[in-house]
Amino acid sequence: MQFLGITGSLFVTLLAALGGAIGLMYLAKLRRRRVQVPYSPLWAQVLVERQARSLWHRLKRLTSFLLHLLVLLILLVALRDPRPLEEAVDGRHLLILVDTSASMGIRDMPGGLDRMEEARREALQALEALSPRDRVMVVRMDSQVVPLMPFVRPAPWVAEQIGQLQSSASKADLPAALSFVARSLAYRSRPELLVITDGAFPPEAIEAAAAVDLPGNLVRRMVQLGSATGNVAITAFNVRRYLANRLNYEVFVQLSSSFDVPVTVELTLLANDRPVHRSEVELPAWGSAVRTYPNLATGGNRIQAQVRIQSGDAVDLFPLDDTAYALLPHDRRRRVLLVSQDNLFVEAPLLLDQTLEVTRMSPVHYRTSAQAAANPSLDYDVTVLAGSAQPIPDRGGFLFLYPTGVHSPWPARGEITDPIIDRFDRTDPLMRWMQGFRSMNIRRAARLSLTEADLAVARTIEGDAMIVRREEGERRLVGVAFPIEESDFPLRIAYPLFILNALEWLAGGQDRLVESVETDRAARVFTGHRAAGEARLIPPDGEPQLLPIREGYVTIFPDRPGFHELTWEEPEEEAPAAEGERSARSRTLAVNFFDPEESQIAAGDLFRLDAGQAEEPQRAGALPVKEEPRFYLVMAALVLLVLEWITFNRRVTV
């Protein structure tokens, strides 16, 4: 027998003090209560017939005293916390590793509980089984491995921390977690590991976890939870506006199923929470389907896709991946200043985009205005300068068509005749949807002098830049080295595409597609200014989170899907940015949970943490609980007290 509670000397001291106190109380108790009666001779007659102070009565009083002493002794022994000798309780270090990945939120446990609730219960049970000399650490495992505390003595606040564990919208990184376990328990005495998980890991993760070098003396236990198998998930979702008709948009959805049978699902598209399209999709067993929905034109820029199973024999227990979110770029109008001497070749493509607001100005008027007052370009998103170059401010977008003169950003080093373009960067934003410039006839072109900031998008066979772009500070420039009216470029389909691409890039808008952010992945959001500060990220249903702004960027790490709002204050010392995306003080972010592996929610097969030394994995509820002799001792003391009360102390007083 070993004692883990109070020390022997304290035990003796308490026994002496409390035993003495009980003795005093016993003596005090010997004094009888006084009760007034109307006629005592009646009682005297009764007592004559019966000797009240019998031997049994005196013995009963002594028994009461002895019972009290015995109760005290039992309680003090309970305080000493006796344990069997064979129970190894001295200084264990238990690390409880709790899987908080998305699949732990599935409600497939008995009693309508989700896996996370069951995991919390198992962790609390393990905590209760610890002795005061043990140390415990609780670690959360999802895409990040987060220890909730260092190794500490078991205490109520540890239980509170366990009670606050929630499943996240990310997948668990088992190898990283086990690496952390190996490092944390490397030099600890009596290390023990308890893994509570649903085991929904891909085979390669289990393989990598098995390769982690865990301490040799580590006692391992694992509790695996969950049983559900089938799930339907949206694994990809995007929406974008049409190039030519920016009022309409097209939706792309990818669905996958992990049911063993084909299922029918209903897919609903919503714009600003209003349904705009509904369709049924057949999904094969363990298969996927891709759908596009063209020419949707309903207002609203917050687009959602929701999937719901129609088949009666299938139940989707994992709602996290049943909704996806996307944002449409705002359909705002762009102001374009065309500085040209009635060049219809330039004007024509500008008519294609209904969102452009074109203002025409002659080069002479532009120059005069620029010299007399502020540069007219400051009031426009993009300025198109056809022919002679003009003085431009240090902010805005500028398209130079055959720039010549002293104000040209690319001074001409001469002229080329009949240049042939044979190299261009197909991935450049200016070249989107364009097939090339093959066999394009150009009569003449200027040989432009490039700087290090310039990027030649299209070149001749000799290496002379025909189309060039530059980004410097808040100014963007695109230059075309040849006069378009002296080429057959305007006759080609590529010409309006190029003009629209150039305007799009110059206006700073790559926003035909607003990409969504995925949970458990870091994303950087540009605030439009370089000053340090603080931004506030408001999740769909959670507490606002303060995030630092560094070098103009906010790094976010969203942990749940939905529309997040990111807001920040503009620094006072900086001039307000031009109206547009970059100057906004808030930005909406669409966050999605796209993880095909985590969406396969089937609880994993039982696996060993280490093939060599692991204990057998256990299903939920199988965790051994240590016996608590203290409990039985306290119960025995209570029984003795009740016995004493019934035999001696029970009375109904007047």
Binding site: V35, Q36, P38, Y39, R650
Partner: protein
């Protein structure tokens, strides 16, 4: 205690008793009893020899003329019944919320009302180890409020019970014979017999009402207690058990039985008066017994 003693409800119950008593005595001589003494009545009763000093108006001249013998005519004198209500006010009557004393006073008030209503002379005398006070004999229904006011007085100065001393004092002070109703719990360590005998020997007609309450029969005691007599201060250490309570009940029943048997043996009327019994029922029982009001 005044409000609790004789409230409106109590007075209504007295009215009821009055009506019932009128019905019971209808057709009889109204509240009158005759004595065989020379008096001012008109009903002839007997003759006796003339002695000097007798009123010559009662001399029977016819007999003197015919038989030359001097005889005086005796008439039955109409005499009022005297009712004495003797109330035990010792401390034993005041335990457990004074229930016994309150009951005794209400019972006395009811009997006094019936007596006054029937034109008898009613006197109330509280006692303990001696006579504590005295309401002089009153007559007529209008005196009931005088009786009630007297009963409302607290007579709580007394402690012990001494029936013998108190009742001997009573008979010494009241030469006019009548009905003596003793309302008491008869918790007298010296015994009750001598007191009742003192009444009997002086030609009073005793009616005994023994009052007791619930705690007299079923004391709410358990465990180790020291019992203190409220009158004598005598102490008894006792461990109260169910068995002991059972024995106590037996002893108490024996005491009650002794009082009852003694009264019956001596020709006195006895009534047990548990406080839970409505006092009007007890009054009617007394009336029906015939000993009261004659």
């Amino acid at each position: 205690m005044a409000e609790q003693l004789f409230d409106d409800q109590f007075l209504r119950r007295l009215e009821y008793l009055y009506l019932v008593s009128r019905k019971m005595f209808r057709g009889r001589l109204r509240a009158k009893r005759r004595t065989r003494i020379v008096g001012s009545g008109i009903e002839f009763a007997d003759y006796r020899d003339y002695v000097p000093g007798d009123d010559l108006r009662y001399l029977d001249w016819n007999i003197l003329a015919r038989m030359e013998r001097m005889l005086v005519r005796l008439f039955e004198e109409e005499e009022d019944l005297s009712i004495y209500l003797l109330i035990d006010c010792s401390r034993s009557m005041r335990t457990a919320g004074q229930e016994k004393l309150v009951y005794a006073k209400r019972l006395a008030a009811a009997l006094a009302f019936v007596g006054l209503s029937n034109l008898n002379r009613v006197s109330v005398i509280p006692f303990a180890d001696q006579l504590l006070d005295r309401l002089p004999p009153s007559r007529g229904p209008g005196q009931i409020f005088k009786v009630l006011r007297f009963l409302e007085r607290s007579h709580d100065s007394a402690t012990r019970t001494d029936l013998a001393v108190a009742l001997r004092s009573f008979v010494a002070q009241n030469r006019r014979r009548g009905v003596a109703i003793v309302i008491s719990d008869f918790y007298d360590p010296k015994g009750f017999e001598e007191g009742i005998n003192a009444l009997r020997f002086q030609k009073f007609e005793p009616i005994v009402c023994q009052v007791h309450d619930e705690t007299d029969l079923e004391p709410l005691l358990f465990g180790d207690v020291e019992l203190v007599d409220c009158e004598t201060g005598a102490r008894v250490e006792v461990t109260v058990t169910r068995e002991l309570i059972k024995r106590y009940r037996e002893v108490h029943r024996r005491l009650v039985s002794q009082v009852e048997q003694f009264c019956r043996a001596k020709g006195a009327m006895y009534f047990a008066a548990p406080v839970h019994l409505p006092f009007e029922d007890l009054v009617l029982a007394v009336l029906r017994s015939g000993g009261f009001l004659k």
